[in-house]
Symmetry: C2
Subunit: 409 residues, 2 copies
């Protein structure tokens, strides 16, 4: 017997027929002799409707109305789904009961609208599971220190599932979604992309934060911290998905596991900056104070006493970033230029920790296609390059082939 | 300063604009210097949608699925409205917070789907009101002994409001609805019907149970028990409504306060029943066991050792009632006849306790119009007659005039 936590997103529980379909999947797991807890999202469209109500009732200040009331309104969507799924499971002859976040309870830090889970008391829910009941848990919500409902922010149901799996010491947390796993890269760009059987937490974290929108970044962090084995799989097929797990569980580790990309990039270059101590601090301090996320940074040494300093930020923040830099620029410089037509492409793999030459393969593959690299950034398990956006697909395909990731035809 | 509980039903909070309108009404009460708690229903249509989901997910057993899950699903509607109204109130510059039933808590007996309020701990909500916050309470729900949400059954928000008013020792409970008060009779039948300024609990209870669907019967019982002054008024006008209160508060008590009627009546007559001890018990025992509500009963003495026994029940239960009587009829009788074309008309007034001749005025008024009386039934504060349905309007108009209830032209 194993203990499994399953999570179904809004599309999987989008209408009555789909909720009944989810019930059959849960039953299949119970029939295998397993104890099951299910975390559900709101039916697709419901959360948007509820958020829309809030925005319309306070149009002048939206979305800066009382987040405690926002939470009270928006968290109801998941409660509806959990009650309905419990009924559907009972219809299939199973014992089941629904749990709202406050009933378990899932304690949060009380940062309404974007709360983090502080702790989950798994005792009562484990008792219920051990008495033969499927636990159907409303995702995305918990109870703050003020005894009021707090939501975890969009996508919080993934985090609920992983945190619950940690709390009840589950053997696995299955995240059902509309894709059937994690791929070596975006299959819409590379038709030879392969589904990975396994991927490490560290790699998944890089993939998630680099734009592969399969799992919420926060849920991967939590899985890594508590060593929860997470499987990503499709709720519309019966195929096994991708297991996110410890490095030790992966016998044949590839050098590079995947190629990720992000188009939400913009580049800012300060030209002819006086080359003196404190320049970087004078530029990036104000940006940090303005809560603007800076990703890659590069500074070119020069011979004439000046230097060019380039950094990247997300496109939506570009305008604000330039404004902050201009207003705080006390260091002499010639000009500021910006470029929004850029993209970041990254190769990711824990295998590169122990292998040299991984970056060199990347540079050569890109050079062979005539692709110019604007910026290079590396970490222990990834190499990222900023290139002109028009080369994005070409670069991804070239790298996918260069690292031997293409599926056999 | 007074402490007021206001209650707004589904139509009054039917959309965003109406919720904003309700917020303005609440503000007017606060501007008068009063402490206010507001009880809200779900937006009109929402509860039906949620019940429909439950029925569709368990079509084979509906509505006999797990009522605990039904409650978890259906109670969310009121939580949405209370959160939205709290935001709307804040938009008007007031301090406000929403309360779900479990947060107050409103303790129920745990009869899921049709729970009764066991007790309300008013301490925390009073503290919040005294700190200057409007309390916005989700109606229709509470927390059962099993720590799960239980709903009070349809119309339960009236009961929530009255019970809350009792718990926080409110000076008045204002029930906003789509009519502007309690009338001497149905204004659709008698154009000269008058709105009553005040009515006693006892009279209101008779009016409510006799078909004047202004207030939930249970909420009036609760108001009477806890001596909560209840005002029924319209959420669409600015007129004062009808105050339901103690007899002592009504200086000039009318002899008769109103004329009520019910068309949901059916008559069953057992003809030529052997006149012997135990006959009534033999007939009405099985009906009670079958949970069939019997209202009026009349037995005519006879000379030939047999008697005719007539009783009334609601039309929807007529068929079942006849079946039960036939299957259990051990007493010799000639035949059973039924009549669905009947109506009950009643005159109600606490004044008749101390005045003779009230019934006589009724019988004469009906006789003058040639209306035959099938059955007469009386209580301390009402006289009811069963008549042929076709005379209903005629009878109501005649009685309304006979008791001097017509408004001055």
């Amino acid at each position: 017997m194993a203990r499994i936590v399953q999570k179904f997103g809004g599309t999987s529980v989008g209408d009555i027929a789909r909720i009944q379909n989810v019930a059959r999947r849960v039953k299949a797991e119970v029939d295998r002799g397993n104890q099951v807890a299910v975390v559900v999202s709101a039916m697709s469209g419901v959360t948007n409707q509820l958020v829309d109500y809030c925005n319309k009732i306070a149009p002048d200040v939206a979305p800066d109305y009382d987040q405690r009331e926002y939470d009270a309104v928006v968290a109801t969507g998941e409660c509806v789904t959990s009650g309905l799924l419990a009924i559907a499971l009972q219809q299939l002859g199973l014992q089941a009961r629904s749990w709202a976040g406050w009933q378990i309870p899932i304690a949060t830090d009380g940062a309404h609208g974007k709360a983090r889970i502080a702790s989950i008391d798994g005792a009562e829910i484990v008792r219920s599971m051990e008495s033969g009941h499927v636990a159907v848990v409303a995702g995305f919500q918990g109870l703050g220190p003020d005894n009021r409902i707090s939501t975890l922010g969009r996508g919080g149901s993934d985090t609920t599932a992983v945190a619950l799996a940690a709390a009840v010491k589950a053997d696995r947390c299955d995240i059902y979604t509309d894709v059937d796993g994690v791929y070596t890269t975006d299959p819409r760009i590379v038709s030879a992309a392969r589904k990975l059987d396994k991927i490490t937490y560290e790699e998944m974290l890089e993939m998630a934060s680099l734009g592969a929108k399969v799992l919420q970044t926060r849920s991967v962090e939590m899985a890594m911290k508590h060593r929860v084995r997470v499987q990503v799989l499709s709720s519309f097929t019966d195929q096994p998905g991708t297991l996110v797990c410890d490095e030790e569980e992966i016998v044949e580790q590839e050098l590079v596991s995947g190629v990720a990309y992000s188009r939400d990039e913009a580049k800012v270059t300060l030209v002819g900056v006086q080359d003196q101590p404190g320049v970087a601090a004078g530029i990036f301090g104000p940006l940090a104070d303005a809560n603007i996320n800076v990703d890659m940074i590069v500074q070119n040494a020069s011979s004439d006493g000046t230097t060019d300093l380039t950094f990247t930020t997300s496109r939506s923040e570009l305008e604000r970033a330039v404004k902050v830099v201009k207003e705080n620029m006390k260091v002499p410089h010639r000009s500021i230029s910006t470029d929004k037509a850029v993209a970041k492409v990254s190769v990711i793999g824990v295998g590169m920790r122990s292998h040299a030459g991984v970056a060199q393969t990347m540079f050569k593959a890109l050079a062979d296609k005539g692709i110019n690299i604007h910026i290079i950034s590396t970490s222990e398990i990834k190499v990222s390059v900023l290139i002109s956006e028009e080369y994005t697909e070409l670069a991804i395909r070239a790298l996918h082939t260069a690292y031997g990731l293409d599926a056999a035809a």
